[in-house]
Symmetry: C2
Subunit: 222 residues, 2 copies
Amino acid sequence: MEGYRILEIKQSVFENNDREADKLREELKRSKTFLLNLMSSPGSGKTTTLKATIAALKDEFRIGVMEADIDSDVDAAAIEKTGVKVIQLHTGGMCHLDAGMTRQGLEGMGVEDLDFCILENVGNLVCPAEFDTGSAKNAMILSVPEGDDKPLKYPLMFSICDVLLINKIDVLPYFDFDVDKCREYVRRLNPNMKVIPISARTGEGIEEWAQWLREQISVWNG
Amino acid sequence: MEGYRILEIKQSVFENNDREADKLREELKRSKTFLLNLMSSPGSGKTTTLKATIAALKDEFRIGVMEADIDSDVDAAAIEKTGVKVIQLHTGGMCHLDAGMTRQGLEGMGVEDLDFCILENVGNLVCPAEFDTGSAKNAMILSVPEGDDKPLKYPLMFSICDVLLINKIDVLPYFDFDVDKCREYVRRLNPNMKVIPISARTGEGIEEWAQWLREQISVWNG
């Protein structure tokens, strides 16, 4: 018997997503629930990063995870093993989540008992960037094997995120990825973006990322 | 002075994309132009694979490449150096190409003098799978660092493609990617899919891929 629920998300009926997102954000602010929207390409290591993040913070915060996917529940099954609250959201082919869909997920999971919710968005660097989910902060992962030129090719995603995790730095020796060049591309698009190199696999950089999250959650609740 | 043109693609006006795609495919068949639609996540190595493909086949076929991207022309600049005809298509934020948009690209590039056209679609495993471009064949790349579970998570893409290139096999020792497991996931979704492990960087597998293309082009023209 699985310890998580699978929720089929319905297309949103709201015409003005920005307004819905602001409304959801205000509600989450009042209930002191910090919602992080985590985005990336398929295969950049979102789920492994989430597991490392949960391990670092689960003694300090009551954490819940929403796993959004076109299909399958492999991610929810992986997160469930960490012991935090988790729900699998199926988008029925839709390539992103908007605020109305995020609200369905939050209501399906139940957030009254949570301090920190993470939405693992659909693996896609294009469409999720266009829809405010109502999150407090937007985070993205770019992994070393994807290449340091991605900010040039997906500028909107890099522009709307507050923090960039450069993941899989343990394989830097095997790829032609220039961290400084990547930082420079990012700086031109989004000078305020925090950049944290990590390896979710080895744990390198996870404490800096956890500390960034602690500060954001503290500001959100203060 | 650049040797390639940048074309801003307009949203299609056609309501029935499948009909437009069939129409375009028939026209390309009559003019003996083989159109390949190449899809993958961002960073799986589409452009590097294209360069290796061009090197293998440019003495046999007159090749043209359409580089579709949200923004930037880094890919067209890279392909231009190979000496083949190339055009950069900017989708203006759109996450995929449909048949009408592909037609704009083909007309912008001019295909009268070409045997083999390649559309490098927008880096995205979700949306491009939903739109027939009018191509003769659909190819996709999954790279080793992305993980062997991707067929479970993006089943439509794996279902509509004729061939899967498993790229970056030179880094298999550094990642937890099981080629046999991946083949099995693919077989369950799409038993007819041809699977070719390659390394666009080292050249491994490129001859098998080139041979597959020769056969498809021969069937198309025969």
